[in-house]
Symmetry: C2
Subunit: 418 residues, 2 copies
């Protein structure tokens, strides 16, 4: 029992990562040809394993392995395969190929379970392309309204509506992707840590207690474009210098909230018109503030608002801010956490309990069913980076744990001896 | 005598500004279809006035009106018609259409001069497209080496070499654009101020005593891209925060040198990879530092270097800086300054002596011949901006002054009474 083929897993992961637009890293952004082709590759593999596969109206893939009792709710697991720009090979993909390997190994061993097992590949987990994250799991959990996404456009101005049409999906039928609580028994997500904690602490598994939902803002700063040579310093309304002050103030505010785990990031800063000899007239910033404590996150957000008022006045700038999204921290299921702890102890895997600074599809699935997330280490804590790396040994450990937990919840009903 | 047709000037200026790529302002960047078409429009008008027109190997237009004594050196004037991104309608163009109106009015009145008169339209004055300014006048003054420009590319990665070929110009024949001191008697440039001084002081004409040459840098800051949610603040190597500190330090340094007129600008800041949920891993900044005092400019540059060292260490970033160009301040000719002062006094125009914070083609032409630059006011000091505005009244005043000065230097030899 529990014989898994990690060479096969490694091969599937390698093949999956050939679906990428050229670049320094992986570029398989949501609703692009590369991502949709990769999705089809996974669908084909699932069908080969005898699973029933459906793609819902937002592009989530739901692959189902029948249980012996068709009346029982599903034990579900999954992750995503879309990526950020210049991404690594492991973020999301590990959870998908590990789930597939669980199914394959059950088939190899002719193990049947009472509960059906579902493997889900969520669409558009990353916000990189459309500034909107975990779109697929939000739709599945009934947390998505049509108005949330109809006006989304990528950097090139391509609308999400156009991409939906291109791939046979439908913005008007979002509600059809919604599923009910009754169909799930539990949901499990295996993911790489994307941070340095496990490596620093020398642990193999991170069992996540809660997920910090991000609050995101778009901040537009309006100054006055003018000639860089002939505008004396004291007559300037330099939008970029306002942006610089905002970024440093945010850093300071997050640092003073470090003990409560809150982080703040300016990942986007577009300077207009963007020429050497023009004082910047307008800047658009993307701000991401996260914490597992709502109170702490609010402290940083208040600091942002105060800084805006102060800098607007001092520099004679005009700032306008839009809150793009605001997700509450989500707790993971305590029984499932205890179950993973037990399994780790049983097999001698070291683990730590930790929060997740990154958002994941599991936080939406937690609205539908008891859910849990667990991590395997990322080398140097790197993720969203071409140098992202998790060893096959750690992936195997995660996949093994995933299989053990799935079998606990899905209950082995019979094993056919060959 | 001295009857000029300012309605005609206004019409030509309006027509010239129809050559622009669509945008909020004027977009007629160096070596684009729009700029080359505008150049052809001016060539046609010059030929209609009986001038002999040549385009040199870098795209400068030299239109010559014969003098009665062909052995005498030319009285030259001119400016440019290329623009920055989202520019105004007056920067450069005013000096060109005013020069053309001088020629037209001389023809109207059948006025011949002893010296030939040259009207020059300089190519690629603005650095906006290729990060290299006053290319045409540098080539003419023998200040341009082939190596200075062969590797230049615009934001889209299009090389200047490709554009040269496209428009029948030749990077390998730069030296053929060079001209000797003997061919010029004087050079005059009329330009809008592009700053707030004339308006603030309530003067009509700014007579420029010297031009602050810019020192320009490209600064690359290398940090470490990482996940914005799962990288604690103290483990980050955020390249953008390093850039923010550099920009604010530069501002402070320039402010403390304000009495000596030095200014510093970060007009370009490209954040990579540029996504909401990734801590910036790399930033490229464009820095422009100018002063009429070399010593003062060096103070600011030293501050930049100190800040780089400090921030590299504190934030564990790696910075590399390239000096793109470094132009010395240039003095204008004292006799020509006195001559303009006299003319202003004669006609009751108010004027002030002032430095020019912006670079102009005249600073290169000053290597070939006694030269002068004079300004007319810019409303609100705005330039390099769609809202740039100079009234027709002020343009007429500048064109009139240009004609008076040209006639003084070129010497009227005969006037045919009709």
């Amino acid at each position: 029992m529990c014989i898994m083929n990690f060479k096969r897993l490694e091969h599937t992961l390698g093949k999956l990562n050939t679906f990428s637009k050229q670049g320094q890293g992986i570029n398989r952004l949501a609703y692009t040809d590369e991502e949709r082709q990769a999705t089809q590759y996974i669908i084909d593999l699932c069908e080969k394993e005898g699973m029933e596969v459906n793609v819902d109206t937002v592009g989530n893939v739901i692959a189902r392995r029948k249980g012996t009792n068709s009346a029982l709710p599903a034990v579900a697991c999954g992750s995503h395969i879309d990526s950020v720009y210049e991404a690594g090979k492991y973020d999301g993909t590990v959870g998908v190929v590990a789930a597939l390997e669980v199914i394959r190994s059950l088939n190899d061993d002719n193990i049947r379970t009472e509960h059906p097992i579902e493997m889900i590949v969520f669409a558009c987990e990353e916000s990189a392309r459309f500034g909107f994250s975990t779109l697929g799991s939000k739709a599945m959990a009934g947390l998505l309204k049509k108005e949330d996404i109809t006006n989304l456009k990528d950097k090139q101005g391509i609308s999400i509506q156009r991409e939906f049409s291109k791939y046979g999906l439908n913005v008007n039928e979002i509600k059809e992707a919604e599923r009910s609580k009754e169909v799930f028994k539990v949901f499990l997500e295996l993911h790489i840590e994307q941070g340095p904690v496990l490596e620093k602490e020398g642990k193999q598994i991170g069992i996540v207690t809660g997920i910090a939902g991000p609050t995101r803002f778009k901040l537009q700063i309006q100054g006055q474009a003018s000639h860089s040579g002939s505008t004396p310093m004291n007559y300037r309304k330099d939008a970029f210098l306002g942006a610089a002050e905002i970024a440093l103030t945010l850093e300071e505010a997050a640092q003073s909230e470090a003990s409560r785990g809150t982080v703040a990031t300016v990942g986007v800063c577009d300077v207009n018109p963007g020429a050497m000899n023009i004082v910047p007239g307008m800047v658009e910033m993307g701000i991401d503030i996260r914490g597992i404590s709502i109170e702490s996150r609010e402290v940083v957000i208040k600091e942002l608002y105060h800084a805006m008022q102060r800098i607007e006045k001092q520099r004679e700038l005009k700032m306008s801010i839009i809150k793009l999204n605001d997700e509450a921290p989500v707790k993971m299921d305590e029984n499932m956490i205890d179950s993973i702890k037990e399994t780790c102890e049983q097999y001698g895997n070291t683990y730590t309990l930790m929060p997740s600074g990154a958002g994941h599809d599991v936080m939406n699935m937690a609205q539908l069913s008891p859910s849990v997330l667990f991590f395997i280490p990322s080398r140097n804590g790197l993720s969203h980076n071409p140098e992202e790396y998790t060893s096959l040994e750690h992936i195997a450990m995660g996949a093994f744990l995933l299989k053990e937990e799935i079998l606990k919840h899905a209950k082995v009903s019979q094993k056919l001896v060959r």
